[in-house]
């Protein structure tokens, strides 16, 4: 990075630290923060839409849809979510390969599960064995995103279902009295009003989502936990920058990162909540009205 970093063995003190923190591996480490933020940015809206569909299904008039919706929301209640994380990644991977196998290799006669192996034809591998490393990484990341979205979608469905139930009945009945159809009541009355009820649950969920991101490490993505372990481990003099076991400091840094991230989220969510409460027939909205008058 810097010119004086050419021979790291000869420098020391602050310039050593500067050189140390700007090695290629460290840039990979900094990039992995972007990975985590990307995961959050993609997962949050996807999980929200999964949750929305789930909540709609759970209150549908149509029995099978209701069963699926309720089953989806009940899924996460009794079982540790890490079980789902470990399960879905393999299950999705094998499901994709199985589907691909059925399409591409219809003449393949051997069973797919042979004893302890899961074997599909080479053309059905996802991603292909010959694909470059970047594709494999992107695929792993995509699997992680889908897994996170599925699990957090179930949480979000729980929250949104509760919020939809919390909208005062009188509002919906008034809309019906004006001659709105079911669909119109849903779109014009129910959905705009439910957010204020959903927000406390959703902000809680957002915090939980932030705190679940280190689990990416378990899903095999090279995330911040992976790099902290990698870089912090003690390096002998065979390395350019030998040092002792510094994993403690790297993890302390992660701790600070997460603490400031959750703190920032708290502040922002409090503002959104105040904004949404304006003019609502809730205790918070009433307090604002009185303060204003």
């Amino acid at each position: 990075m810097f010119a004086f970093c050419a021979d790291p063995k000869s420098i020391e003190g602050l310039s050593w630290l500067m050189c140390y923190l700007t090695t290629g591996k460290h840039f990979d480490f900094y990039w992995s923060f972007v990975t985590v933020l990307t995961l959050l940015a993609i997962t949050a809206p996807v999980a929200l839409s999964f949750g929305f569909v789930g909540a709609m299904a759970a209150r549908s008039q149509f029995l099978p849809a209701r069963i699926i919706g309720k089953g989806y929301t009940a899924m996460v209640r009794g079982v540790p979510d890490i079980v789902f994380f470990l399960f879905f990644v393999i299950a999705l991977d094998q499901g994709l390969e199985w589907l691909n196998h059925q399409i591409r290799c219809p003449e393949w006669t051997e069973p797919i599960r042979q004893g302890l192996e899961f074997r599909v034809c080479p053309e059905a591998k996802v991603p292909l064995g010959s694909a470059p490393q970047a594709v494999h990484q992107a695929y792993g990341f995509a699997l992680a995103v889908v897994t996170f979205a599925l699990v957090f979608g179930a949480f979000a469905a729980n929250v949104l279902y509760g919020a939809m139930q919390a909208v005062p009945r009188a509002q919906l009945e008034t809309a019906e009295a004006y001659g709105m159809s079911h669909r119109q009541v849903f779109r014009r009355i129910l959905v705009p009003q439910m957010w204020v009820y959903a927000l406390p649950g959703l902000s809680n969920l957002w915090m939980i989502l932030i705190k679940a991101t280190p689990l990416l490490f378990l899903l095999g993505v090279q995330d911040i936990v992976y790099w902290s372990r990698e870089l912090g481990g003690s390096k002998t003099s065979a390395y350019e920058y030998p040092h002792g076991d510094w994993r403690l400091y790297y993890f302390l840094f992660l701790l600070v990162f997460y603490l400031s991230f959750t703190r920032l989220s708290e502040v922002v969510l409090a503002r959104i909540s105040a904004k949404l409460s304006r003019g609502q027939a809730t205790a918070a909205g009433e307090a604002m009205r009185k303060a204003g008058a």
Binding site: R77, G78, V79, I90, I208, K211, P214, L255
Partner: protein, 275 residues
């Protein structure tokens, strides 16, 4: 090999008794059920002891947080903020690395050598982290309950001349427990769920003595078939959750026994997972 034989061999494998080698080929359903159930002992151990010890610390911290004196209040607020604001996963890693730094030979305190090697073992180190973590979450719940004690109750206590410790023990504390109990039930459930993280963070499973998820992961890795071991873990945890809800429900009824039946607060399971 009959299933009875398997149970004999592996029922206490997670504690180091019975057969030493884990099954390697021809995995039977019976083996998976037995070993994963054996691992569940650790989940119950972590959950139960963290819950009991954490309960006392949580009470102390909740009181400290509602104290007027900033010397009590500020540390309590920071403690709660640090443990609730960061992922449990990172806390495990951090604790493991910090405990590793302790000198291996023990610390010499006034001529007595205090052993330190045991602190890096999961049974002690992870339990300690879970203890602090659940204390922080429960303290926040208790603090909230303490603040929502009806004003009338306290005024009634004043009117009867009940003050100080007696007021706390006979009026405030029981009401706080009663109000906090439904939320505390959820906290207990999710504490048990988060015990599955122990062997996936820094703490190694010594001689393959792990928890339920550790063995499930072992089977899934060996058989490439996630559709058997993970549902088994799920079944075990659903049963564990139901038992917890039942036990906490009994306590909830006791806490609410003086109230008319329409005012009793019911326990509702709310999703609030992972820390």
């Amino acid at each position: 090999m009959s299933c009875w034989q398997t149970i004999n061999d592996y029922a206490f494998r997670s504690l180091g008794y019975g057969e030493r080698l884990l099954p390697r080929t021809d995995f039977t359903l019976c083996q998976q059920f037995t070993l994963i159930g054996s691992g569940l002992i650790w989940n119950i151990y972590f959950g139960l002891f963290a819950l009991i010890t954490g309960f006392f610390l949580a009470n102390a911290i909740a009181l400290a947080k509602s104290a007027q004196n900033p010397w009590f209040r500020k540390p309590a607020e920071w403690f709660i903020f640090v443990f609730r604001g960061s992922p449990l996963f990172i806390q495990f890693f951090l604790a493991y690395e910090a405990l590793q730094i302790l000198p291996k030979t023990g610390i010499n305190l006034f001529g007595i050598t205090v052993e330190t090697a045991w602190t890096t073992k999961a049974w002690a180190g992870a339990l300690f982290v879970l203890f602090l973590n659940t204390a922080a979450y429960s303290a926040e719940i208790f603090h909230g309950a303490l603040r929502s004690i009806p004003k009338g109750d306290l005024e009634a206590a004043d009117a009867y001349g009940i003050t100080g410790w007696a007021r706390f023990r006979r009026i405030q504390w029981p009401t706080m427990m009663r109000l906090a109990w439904p939320a505390y039930t959820n906290e207990a459930i999710f504490l048990f769920h988060s015990t599955t993280l122990v062997y996936f963070s820094g703490f190694p499973a010594f001689q393959q003595r792990g928890d339920a998820l550790y063995y499930a992961n072992y089977f899934a890795d060996k058989t490439f078939n996630p559709f058997v071991p993970y549902p088994i873990v799920a079944v075990y945890f659903i049963v564990l959750t139901l038992i917890l809800i039942w036990v906490f429900g009994i306590m909830n009824r006791r806490l609410n026994r003086h109230l008319p039946s329409n005012m009793v607060s019911r326990i509702r399971l709310r999703p609030q997972l992972i820390r």
